[in-house]
């Protein structure tokens, strides 16, 4: 016999990290309360301040366009039509909660850029459009410029790097800084690893022995190819 190890405090834990999935929420629930949304976003840990109510859909879409352009990942991979994970909204809320004025700047720049998402196969925004966007962002100053980079890292690693740290290390390579993982789910959905045709360390959805073969082409990982039929 042993003393079975219970949750220490006797009350069911896990609630603080209950990364409430977005999927089952209807518009009714969403509009029904800023409070409800606030509660959801609160569940995303890491220096949680009470975030603003969910911005209207156009802002989220601009955020997704911005993200797709900068990350080089197909928009429909970041935010599929049938989205079981809801990372777009999670990251948008996360950045919004930081109350950085540069976010609104970036969203406006993204809207103004009128980015064209090519149809499948591929679905990746063209480099020329990306470069224009990057120039437009840079023209808005350091805060926008480094926030854009933080947003890319958010998608790439599921972790938040402060724009101020990115700026500091650009000036002094010896500047030391860390990051904050948004949530276990975000870490496991990091896109950087897929860009490398791999998977996050600690999270594999593949079969025994897969590593003894070369991976599928990078398109399988980051493009929207829509080979399969829908319903």
């Amino acid at each position: 016999m042993d003393e079975s190890k219970h949750r220490d405090n006797g009350s069911p834990a896990q609630d603080a990290t209950d990364d409430h999935h977005v999927t089952a929420i209807s518009r009714r629930t969403v509009l029904a309360g800023a409070a409800a949304t606030a509660a959801l976003s609160f569940a995303v840990e890491a220096r949680a301040e009470t975030p603003p109510p969910l911005a209207a859909a156009p802002n989220l879409d601009a955020f997704l366009n911005l993200s797709a352009a900068l990350t080089g990942i197909a928009k429909k991979m970041l935010a599929p039509d049938t989205d079981s994970l809801g990372m777009g909204k999670t990251y948008f809320d996360f950045v919004a909660a930081r109350k950085l004025p540069a976010l609104a700047t970036l969203l406006q720049v993204a809207k103004d850029a009128n980015l064209q998402v090519p149809p499948p196969p591929g679905g990746i925004i063209a480099q020329a459009d990306v470069d224009h966007l990057a120039q437009a962002i840079a023209a808005k100053g350091d805060e926008a410029k480094f926030l854009a980079r933080s947003i890319v890292l958010l998608w790439y690693l599921g972790a938040w790097y402060e724009p101020a740290d990115l700026k500091a290390v650009a000036q002094d390579p010896k500047h030391l800084f860390g990051y904050t993982v948004v949530s276990p789910k975000a870490y496991t959905q990091g896109w950087l690893w897929r860009v490398a045709q791999a998977h996050p360390m600690g999270y594999s959805d593949m079969q025994f022995g897969y590593w003894t073969r070369a991976p599928e082409p990078i398109g399988d990982f980051i493009e929207f190819r829509s080979k399969g039929k829908g319903a």
Partner: protein, 644 residues
């Protein structure tokens, strides 16, 4: 269980402790296990959550005591959050190995000396362990047998290296227990491939087929297929090799369903934790042991004093039980003691000598328990781990790292040869995780974060981005892909001599949260070990040349393990880190003046005391110690079962 009923008390529930407990449990012996840390949790939700959120994913990161706050941060204002003075049952952490912390007893759990009493500068002991039920579950899984000559270092090579000694047991005597251990923990491997340097398998094959190798393995194998003996002469093998084999790594990693656990899915996370328990960890055996009526475990129970009776036998072990609140603060401490017929200390090669040397209250234990030889705590060894990292040219086939187990193959053929009379042997690890942890020794941040940030932020910490390009879009994904898919790293486990000056003692200054004095470390590398690292460095150069790879290896200026060696007339900065293999501190031998235990790991001084684990290793070899720990533990269990 009433005290007179207890057959065996085991201190520690790691590899050795759990295996012995389980063997004795199967034979209906009454066992009590004392475990300093928390017990086995009902699932690994907590461990995995902590790991995923960790902002620095060191080997200890998933486990308790937690290194992190609720944000996953390990540092505040530049210092580690964890205060080893306050932790009830602490353990060392890679977080505290930085130049700023390693010798500061207020940051580092191990009180590490910066210089010895003659003011000779010392270097860090860089290996860590876990202190929780199941012990050091963060191990990689490597389950290599020693080669026969590993047991005979003095007879074969001891001529001009006086520190070398022979083991009081040889490969043939241990072979059956190697096999039994491979069955118990579930090792996957191929017998033909592993029959080198005298290793044989008369007791039977591995229970599972080998893990398939990776693309990096095959690229390195190809590069080493045909070598010019003039370029390999420096190895001073029997004959200069004209080709060097890359062999799979036998590991306690399922290649098919085994004892109800899944096969590996290539989560590339063996260290620190396998998310699906395809890698064996001792909680598997511990749970089996605890599933017998006659076995109890007392967790959060720290053995604090071993009491020796007038008859020279151990009469009882005193302990402190503690309770933590949900913020891991100590809210209760209770003293107690326990008696048994036989006592087994399985607390690892730092905590065991600490306990023995702390136990000085009795008339028979002024020098500590089991220490008539004076050797308890001496001959602390690790495998100093020399790492190198590089990248294939852009026109080479990619290696596709970050896929599969952390290591699937290595080079063992260089582990033995005439050179062992002069320098430490080395085994080569081929990493599947590119620059993940190796780059942190220079940049203080791990990959792929460093590489990604370089190309996003227009900096060059990785040295891959000399133009400081800041990229977005397809340019970014292509550049990152091209760069990461050609990265690789290797590591060298070097054998060091058992030096009496490398010691574990008990600090007189720093205590832990229970008020017990913490382990104090004095450690450095002998010329024998350093010469092994020099040879490893030369081998690295040869390998990189054959791969046509660019060498990105660097040693940070402030790396506390750094030293400069002249190699072929040029100054070369070298360093080492820890392989996690803590050995030697209560070594086995034939005589009680020169050793602490015999080959059954029974104390020469106290006939009802066994000291198990890699602390009994008189020399370190180059193979990871775990399988040998397990084999010796099973052999000890058999001996104990015959006595109670």
């Amino acid at each position: 269980m009433a005290d007179d009923d207890i057959d065996v008390v085991i201190v520690g529930s790691g590899f050795a402790g759990s295996l012995i407990a389980n063997e004795l449990a199967k034979q209906r012996k009454k066992i009590v296990i004392l475990e300093a840390g928390n017990g086995v949790p009902p699932n690994i939700n907590d461990y995995m959550e902590r790991f995923y959120k960790a902002s620095i994913k060191v080997p200890e990161s998933p486990y308790t005591p937690s290194l992190f706050d609720s944000d996953g941060q390990a540092f505040r204002n530049g210092s580690p959050i964890e205060d080893p003075n306050k932790v009830a049952a602490g353990r060392p952490s890679a977080i505290a190995l930085d130049a700023a912390f390693w010798s500061d007893g207020n940051s580092s759990y191990l009180v590490q000396n910066k210089a010895d009493k003659n003011n000779k500068p010392l270097t860090p002991f860089s290996s860590t362990y876990d202190r929780v039920a199941g012990g050091t579950a963060h191990w990689l899984g490597t389950s290599l047998r020693f080669v026969p000559n590993d047991f005979k270092m003095k007879s074969k090579y001891g001529g001009s290296v006086p520190e070398l000694v022979d083991w009081p047991i040889d490969y043939d005597a241990l072979e059956q227990f190697y096999h039994d251990a491979e069955i118990e923990i579930g090792v996957s491997g191929n017998v033909e491939e592993q029959s080198f340097l005298g290793i044989q398998f008369p007791s039977g094959p591995y229970p599972m087929p080998r893990i398939p190798n990776s693309l990096t393995d095959r690229a390195i194998a190809k590069a080493l297929e045909k070598l010019d003996p003039a370029e390999t002469a420096f190895l001073e093998m029997e004959q200069a090799p004209t080709g060097i084999a890359v062999r799979g790594l036998p590991a306690a990693r399922n290649s098919q369903p085994y004892k109800g656990r899944r096969a590996c899915a290539g989560n590339t996370n063996c260290i620190p934790i396998c998310p699906i328990q395809a890698k064996y960890d001792p909680t598997v055996t511990l749970n089996d042991a605890l599933n017998h009526k006659n076995v109890t475990m007392m967790s959060n129970t720290v053995a604090s004093d071993i009491i020796v009776g007038n008859d020279g036998r151990i009469s009882e072990i005193k302990y402190i039980r503690y309770r933590l609140d949900s913020n891991a603060k100590i809210v209760e401490k209770v003293n107690g003691s326990i008696k048994a017929k036989i006592y087994v200390i399985a607390a690892n090669a730092i905590e065991t000598p600490r306990l023995l040397l702390m136990s000085t209250k009795g008339p028979h234990s002024a020098k500590g328990v089991a220490n008539s030889s004076g050797m308890v705590g001496k001959h602390l060894m690790d495998h100093p781990y020399y790492v190198a990292w590089g990248q294939l040219p852009m026109d080479a086939e990619p290696l596709f790292p970050y896929r599969g187990p952390l290591i699937t193959s290595g080079i063992g053929d260089l582990c033995d040869g005439p050179f062992r009379a002069k320098r430490g042997a080395f085994r080569v690890d081929i990493g599947n995780e590119a620059w993940n942890f190796v780059i942190a020794s220079v940049v203080k941040s791990s990959d792929p974060n460093v590489t990604a940030i370089d190309f996003i932020n227009g900096i060059n910490r990785s040295k891959l981005n000399p133009n400081n390009s800041a990229l977005f879009g397809p340019a970014l994904t292509n550049t990152i892909n091209q760069n990461i898919t050609r990265q690789f790293r290797i590591g060298f486990l070097v054998e060091q001599t058992p030096d009496p000056g490398n010691t574990v003692t008990v600090s007189t200054k720093f205590r832990d949260g229970l008020g017990l004095f913490r382990p104090e470390i004095t450690y450095s590398l002998s010329p024998y070990a350093k010469a092994g690292i020099v040879a490893a460095h030369k081998f690295k150069n040869l390998l990189f040349k054959m791969l046509n790879a660019t060498d990105f290896t660097k040693v940070a200026e402030d790396d506390p393990s750094r030293w400069v060696e002249t190699i072929d007339g040029k100054p070369v900065a070298l360093n080492y880190t820890g392989a996690g293999h803590i050995m030697g501190t209560y070594r086995m031998g034939r005589t009680r003046d020169n050793s602490v235990v015999d080959s059954l790991q029974q104390s020469h001084d106290h006939e009802n005391l066994y000291l198990v684990g890699s602390g009994t290793f008189p020399t370190g070899a180059t193979a990871n110690p775990t399988l040998t720990i397990a084999a010796l533990a099973l052999r000890t269990a058999k001996a104990i079962a015959g006595r109670v």
